[in-house]
C-alpha cells in the first residue's frame, strides 16, 4: 500500500485480551463462521477485513454476545476474555456487554437528548451516585469522543438532530461512558463522509490508549491507517492474521494477496 505510515508504526506487544478457539456460528442451518481461532490484544486496534458476507460482523457480534438476540443464531466453541469463557452459561451477557462496548455501522442515537444518550449506560449500570458524577462521566466521554466543543451548548437537544459524523461520535461517546475494556466497531465510518471519517479515525487512534479496539472495515486504506493488527476473513473462516504492516506488505496466503490487490472482494 502506498500509505507509508503503516510501516513506521510501532507495535507494542500487549497482553492477549480475547482469544477465540474453534468458534463456529450457524444461522439456522447455514454456517456463517467455520472453525475460527484468533487472539485480540489489549490496547491495540485490530482490523477485520474481507469481502462482504464473509462473517466479519457475525464474529464481531460473538465477542459481546449480541448474537444472542438473533433467534436462529447458534455459537459453539470458546471465546476467552480475561480468563473466563464468555459463552459459559454462568456468564450474564448483559454484564459482559457493559465491558465489551459496541458501535454500529449506522449511527443509532436514541431519540433522546444528547446528554441522555450518553448518560444512559452509566445510569443502567449504576455507575454514579449523584448528578454531579453523572455530569462528569458524560462530559469526559463526550470529550473523549472529540465531540465536546460541538455539542457542549446543546446537550439537551435531541441526539437525532446531529449530523451523521457527530451522531457516530455520539454513539462512540455513549459506548465509552460505561467504561468498557473492549470496543467493537462494525464499519463505523461506512455511513459517513470523508471528513467525518477522518475525525472518527483520529478518535480511534486515541482510544487505543485505553481500550482494546476491534474494527470491521471495508476500506483497506482505513485498516492500514488505524490498526496495528489485521485479520483477513474469507467465506466464514479466518485466512490470515498478523501485524497490519506485514499483512499489507507481505501476505502469506494467496487469497489475502488477491484481496488486497483487488482481485477478490
Amino acid at each position: 500500500m502506498n500509505d507509508m505510515r503503516t510501516l513506521e508504526r510501532i507495535v507494542n506487544s500487549e497482553a492477549i485480551k480475547i482469544s477465540a478457539r474453534n468458534v463456529q456460528v450457524h444461522y439456522g442451518t447455514t454456517q456463517a463462521i467455520k472453525d475460527l481461532n484468533v487472539d485480540i490484544l489489549d490496547k491495540t486496534v485490530t482490523a477485520f477485513i474481507g469481502p462482504s458476507g464473509c462473517g466479519k460482523s457475525t464474529f464481531l457480534r460473538c465477542l459481546n454476545r449480541m448474537n444472542d438476540t438473533i433467534e436462529s443464531c447458534r455459537v459453539t466453541g470458546q471465546i476467552m476474555m480475561d480468563g473466563a469463557n464468555i459463552y459459559d452459561p454462568r456468564i450474564d451477557p448483559v454484564q459482559l456487554r457493559a465491558r465489551v462496548g459496541m458501535v454500529f455501522q449506522k449511527p443509532n442515537p436514541f431519540p433522546k437528548s444528547i446528554y441522555d444518550n450518553v448518560a444512559y449506560g452509566p445510569k443502567i449500570h449504576g455507575l454514579t451516585r449523584n448528578k454531579a458524577e453523572l455530569d462528569e462521566i458524560v462530559e469526559t466521554s463526550i470529550r473523549k469522543a472529540a465531540l465536546w466543543n460541538e455539542v457542549k451548548d446543546r446537550l439537551q437537544s435531541p441526539g437525532t438532530g446531529l449530523s451523521g459524523g457527530q451522531q457516530q461520535r455520539l454513539c462512540i461517546a455513549r459506548a465509552i461512558a460505561t467504561g468498557p475494556e473492549v470496543l467493537l466497531m462494525d464499519e463505523p465510518c461506512s455511513a459517513l463522509d470523508p471528513i467525518a471519517t477522518a475525525q472518527v479515525e483520529e478518535l480511534i487512534d486515541e482510544l487505543r490508549a485505553q481500550f482494546s479496539v476491534v474494527i470491521v472495515t471495508h476500506s483497506m486504506q482505513q485498516a492500514a491507517r488505524v490498526s496495528q493488527r489485521t485479520a483477513f476473513f474469507h467465506l466464514g473462516s479466518l485466512v490470515e492474521t498478523g501485524e497490519t504492516g506485514q499483512i499489507f506488505t507481505s501476505p502469506k496466503d494467496p487469497r489475502t494477496e488477491a484481496y488486497i490487490t483487488g482481485r477478490i472482494g
Partner: protein
Amino acid sequence: MTDATSGGLSAAAQPKSSLLQPSRLMKKRNAAETRFKAYGIAAIVLSLATLGFMLVTIFSDGVSSFFQAKLSFPVELTARTLDPKGNRDRADMVKITTLGYNKVLAVAFEKELAARGIAIEGQSAKDVVEMISKDAAGSLRATVLANPSLVGSTLDATVLATGRIDGYLKGRVTMQTAERDSNVTPAQLQLADKLREAGMLTSSFNWGFLTMPDASDQRPEAAGLGVAILGSAYMMLLVLVTCVPVGVAASIYLEEFAPKNFWTDAIEVNISNLAAVPSIVFGILGLAIFINFAGMPNSSTLVGALVLSLMTLPTIIIATRSAIKAVPPSIRDAALGIGASKMQSVFHHVLPLAMPGILTGTILGLASALGETAPLLLIGMVAFVDNYPAAPMEGFLDPATALPVQVYGWAQRADPAFIERSSGAIIVLLVFLVAMNVLAILLRRRFERRW
C-alpha cells in the same frame, strides 16, 4: 461496578470484578427483567383465559338449547270438538281456536296417564295438563288444518313440554327452585320423573330451535332461530351484492386512477374516519334516511342490509386497496408496455391477481357485519317477529330479525329459559363466524402469493 469512586473512564482502568460473579445490582436488574417478562406472560395468559372462560360459560349455558323435552302420547282427534259440522271442511274448521285443541290434548293426556296407571296424587288436573307447552295446541291445530281428514283418528303426537319441565331435565330447575317458582310445583317435577320412567317424557335433538320462529314470553320452549337465521342470510346476501361491487370499484379508482387532489384526499380521510365511526351512528343514519326520509319499511332486511353495507364499506375498501397495492407495479408496466390501456391493465391483470385478497377481505367484512347488533336495534329489528319473511325480492321488505339481535332480544326476557336460548343462538352465530373465518384463512393459504 458499584464502586463508589468509579467514574466512566477511570472505571475502565480499575480491575473489574469477575464476569462469573454477578454483582448485587446485576441481580436486581435480572430480577426486574424476569418480572417484566412475567408481566407479559401474565397479560397473555389472562386475556386468553378470559376468552376461554367466556366461551366456556356461553357454551355450557347454550348447548342445552339444542335439546328439548317432549311428551309423546296418543291423541284422539275428536270430531265433536274439532269439526262440529262434521264436513271436514277447512273453512269451517278454521273457526275452532287453539282452545278446542287444548281441550283435546288435555283429555288425551289424562287418559294416557290413567291408562298407564300413573297416579297424579295431590295435583289438580289443570296442574298436570300445564306440563304440556302452550305451543302444543297451536302446532296440533296447524297439523290438523293441513290435513283435515285426520279428524276422528288417533294421532301419535309428540308435543313440547313446558320450559320448566324442560329445564328440570337439563338440571336448570330443581325441587328447591320449584318451591319458590309460581310456574311449576315440585309435584309436577315428581310426575315428570314418573313420565320419564314410563318413556312418555324424552329429551331429543331440538331441530325446532334452528327452524321455528320466535315465540312469546310464556313459551320459551317453542322459541327458535328460524326467522333470525333467514333474516341474517337475506342481509348477508344483500350486503354482498351491494357492498362488494361498490367497494371494489371505489378501491380501484382510489388505488389506480385517482389524481392526487383535494377530492381524493377528502375521500381518503373520509374512509379512514368512517371505519372508526361507532356502529350505532349508522343505525341513526338508517333510521333517519332510509326509514323516515325514504319511507322504507321498518324492521325490513333491506334497510338492515343497507345500514350494514354502509358500515362494512370502509372495511372492504381498506382490504381491497391493500390487495391491489400488493400487486407489483411491474405487472401494470408489462401490460401497459404491450399497448393495453390503463383500464385494460387493471381489469385484465391487476384485478385477477388481487382477487384472493379481495375475497378474504370481503368475507371478513361480512363476518363483522353478521355479528353487528346495535344499528339493527334502531331500525326496529328487535321487534317480535313470528312470521317468516317471504321469498326474496318482496321478502326483503318483510319484517325480520337477525341472529345477534335475537341474542339480545332473548337476553332481555325475564324467564331464565331464554338465557339458555340466547346462549344457544350465540353458538349458532359463532358457528357461522368460524366457518367464514376458516374459509377466509383457507382462501388466503390457497392463493397466497409472495412477490
